[in-house]
């Protein structure tokens, strides 16, 4: 067993893990962060996407020990705290644009989309399609996901600081700060 120190969604954890433990299994089985899911064994589907120090990673391809000393943000850490906590603009846009059906790919898809928008705040349709091609969805045919990402992009570009309708978690790095600030 190896000891790791990780900050996940703004909370600090110290745990012993088997060296072979994948980050996704650590999140789900040791921390109970079951919002992040496993969809395949080969890093193709992206359902397990989280942010590691602000960057999207497939948490089935990262060992828990590799996250030692890092900040991890999951789908559970991007909205404001508590019931009715303000949704992230990408979460809101997925809802508004009907960018999900069964919802299994959704956490990973949202985390990948946030990362995409950080890199490219105003992506074209093609850029969104290529930007999320590491995340598979079997329900939506992607069209409404593309719409959702573009809608969120527009909102995030136009959002004035302090706008009550917009989450302060405008981009991921801000999301981490936002969560930390509340803890």
């Amino acid at each position: 067993m190896t000891q790791i120190n990780v900050r996940v969604d703004g909370e600090s954890y110290t745990d012993d893990v088997e060296p072979r433990t994948l980050l996704v299994h650590y999140l789900r089985e040791q921390l109970g962060k079951v919002g992040t899911v496993v969809g395949c064994d080969t890093s193709n589907c992206g359902a397990c996407t989280v942010h590691l120090d602000g960057q999207a990673v497939k948490s089935c391809t990262v060992l828990a020990v590799q996250a030692d000393g890092s900040q991890v943000t999951t789908i559970e850490g991007i909205a404001g705290e508590g019931i009715g906590g303000t949704l992230h603009p990408v979460q809101r846009a997925f809802h508004e644009m009907h960018g999900l059906q069964c919802g299994f790919c959704t956490p990973g898809m949202i985390m990948a989309s946030i990362d995409l928008l950080k890199e490219n705040p105003d992506p074209s349709e093609t850029e969104v399609r290529e930007g999320i091609e590491g995340n598979l969805c079997r329900c939506t045919g992607y069209q409404n996901i593309v719409r959702a990402v573009q809608q969120a992009a527009a909102e995030m570009r136009g959002a004035a600081p302090g706008d009550p309708d917009t989450s302060p978690a405008a981009v991921d790095t801000a999301a981490a700060e936002h969560v930390v600030a509340q803890s």
Partner: protein
Amino acid sequence: MTAVEDPAAPDTPVQMAPAKEVGQARRRKEDARLITGETQWTDNIVLPGMLHMAMLRSPVAHARITHLDVSAAKDRPNVVAVYTGADFAEEQGSLPCAWPVTPDMVNPGHPSIAVDQVNHVGEAVAVVVARTRTAAADALEAIDVDYEPLPVVLDMEQAVQAGSPLVHDSISSNTSYHFVFDAGEAGTGADTDQAFADAEVTVSRRFVQQRLIPAFMEPRSVVVQPTRDNYTMWSATQIPHVLRVMAAMVTGIPEHKLRVIAPDVGGGFGGKLQVNPEEILALLVARRLGRPVKWTETRGESLMAAHHGRDQVQFIDVAADREGNVKGLRCRILADMGAYLRLITPGVPVLGAFMFPGIYKFPAYRFECDGVFTNKVPTDAYRGAGRPEATFAIERIMDELAAELGMDPLELRRKNWIGAEEFPFTTVAGLEYDSGDYAQATEQALELIGYDELRAEQQRRRESNDPVQLGIGFSTFTEMCGLAPSRVLGSLAYGAGGWESASIRMLPTGKVEVVTGSTPHGQGHETAWSQLVADQLGVPFEDVEVLHGDTAISSRGMDTYGSRSLVVGGTAVVKAAEKVVQKARAIAAHLLEASEDDLEFTGGKFSVKGTPGTGIGIQEVALAVFAAHDYPEGIEPTIDAEATYDPVNFSFPHGTHICAMEVDTETGFVKIRKYASVDDVGTIVNPLIVEGQMHGGLAQGIAQALYEEAIYDADGNLTTGSFVDYLLPSAADLPHFDTGNTVHPAPGNPIGAKGVGEAGCIASTPAVVNAALDAVRHLGVTDIRMPLTPERVWRAMHQGGDGGDRAAATSNAQGVTSSEAATASVTEGDQQ
């Protein structure tokens, strides 16, 4: 197969309230938990003392198990038990097949765990039960198994030949059943052989419906908690109600001692319409150990061992006159069952049997199908189940007939389709098509895609000999949905009914609980049912909560498949609401000191006719009846109600799909340039959800045409056993869809809904293939095997045939035995 007339049915016609919520693009209630990661997937469930199961699966396709030693695995750390088929041989029974499609269908039985022989790669041969998931998985490698290989049966056309090795020694051939529908014999059409004998033109083709994998995103998962002789099972299933009945029958656990819960379920597409071996094993292990157990599959297991879909070889003959009037259709199908018959394995082709004539007025029709055993994982339902196969065949052969006649494919369709004024129309297969307007949908679709402009561009590219050619393909399709009238299912020997149940509970505060027997896994029932009930009861959308997927909460249900939920389950909800209003009316009349006949109910309020603004709301009645201080003599103090709806006919969504496809003649690379569809799914309750269902269906139908194929090697190993090799399209692989609707309400249900879940998947595949062929037909190509990989497209262009494997091309020439009357075009596809 016609609509069942039942004048004695006591059901009173249900009146739909004026649409206020219905028709609105309500954002989904379901989303709140799904976008925040608060979803309850089965694999999230953790119970005190819970154990984990892992399966050792056969690495060989066909073999006798000569030696199986699990003792070393039992000694591994944290392993609690290891079981083999021998341990459960006496109690595992056979997995159920609910559809004996012919009286003499052969079902060899399907053990949940192999006892002495394995019949496909991935079949379970041992189960490790351990304290952790990893300990269970680790111990698998300590199990020692010897297999004595048996000849592997993979190719259906060879499997049905005399002298073929057998999948099951216990039965005399690899044919499970021979199902025939002959319109001449059924009295629904003319003699088919005569129609072909008299025909001026016949065209025959052999089409291959490749094997597909449903590939729902959430892997299958099951948790069983035993409490003395009671069992609770959570499962990622589409069918908690069916599963409960079947699991009780298989295991002998009394039905009332078994509760099945489908929590949030991450997609199904027919793939979770199953009673899985692993679900039964979880029950058996939990019963044996008296401790809760969990099993969640890996993606590799899912692709290898969860059921597959499609996999047919189709020999299609069409007869017509020189003017293009169709005269007859003859279909001979080989359908791959895989190694066993699962829940509706043999019935899938039968669901398509009546749909091959499509929207066209064939005077004669004959269908025959052999269900064939092979050493592969069983096939079963996958989005469309039988109807995509039928639609592909008819929409492809119409294009081939048009080419033979030198006619425009659309003109040929127009000449033969059912006119809008002809509904209801009884087809040559005996179905009564309910409503629609094929011409209207087609005109709209042509406009949507910009047809004339595309044709002009195609002409320019053709004339300039552009290496990138453009093709335009059509699919003018219909499907049968709203499964299903129970009596019709009975006439087809299906083992259950097709009704659906709903109940409505009026809570004291006026809030409403709607319990539905239809179990969603992404379709948005919670939202759409809320819209229906909000209108019918006149209560706010937000005041309605929809409960589902737990046999202890919704005691009756037939679950979700076959685009049935809104058509059948939604109607049950509307009927239950009607009963609530009727019951509330009596209470309201009493409270208002008025006659029931003098009351009107609008906007959620009972008032005496002519005195709007006074009266009592139905939510207030709910409180009054809860207190029960003052209600009429002789009635029960409740306004809750339950309803069961058994449809009298199928519903028949239809539509026109047009695909514009670029084909690079130098590389074989194909690219969808534009895709437009106009679908008639009847009344639309929520346009956002309908559009989403269309998009998702299109993605899967297009994926069959272009990307997906489950491939077994010569030894029966699945070589597409991960998402690296089984190509699920990403966002970058799919085009933008232009979708539209016409609305001809279904006359068979009060909502007017026809069903939308499968439409896109059923319609799109032939449109895409027809488009590719339209781009290269002038190069002599008449067929390209799906999926249309660049290699296959290139081979079809440069080496002839359909670009598929050479062995199949050989059997093509031999296989067309039902097509002796056909023209020379029979073997066109095989010219070298």
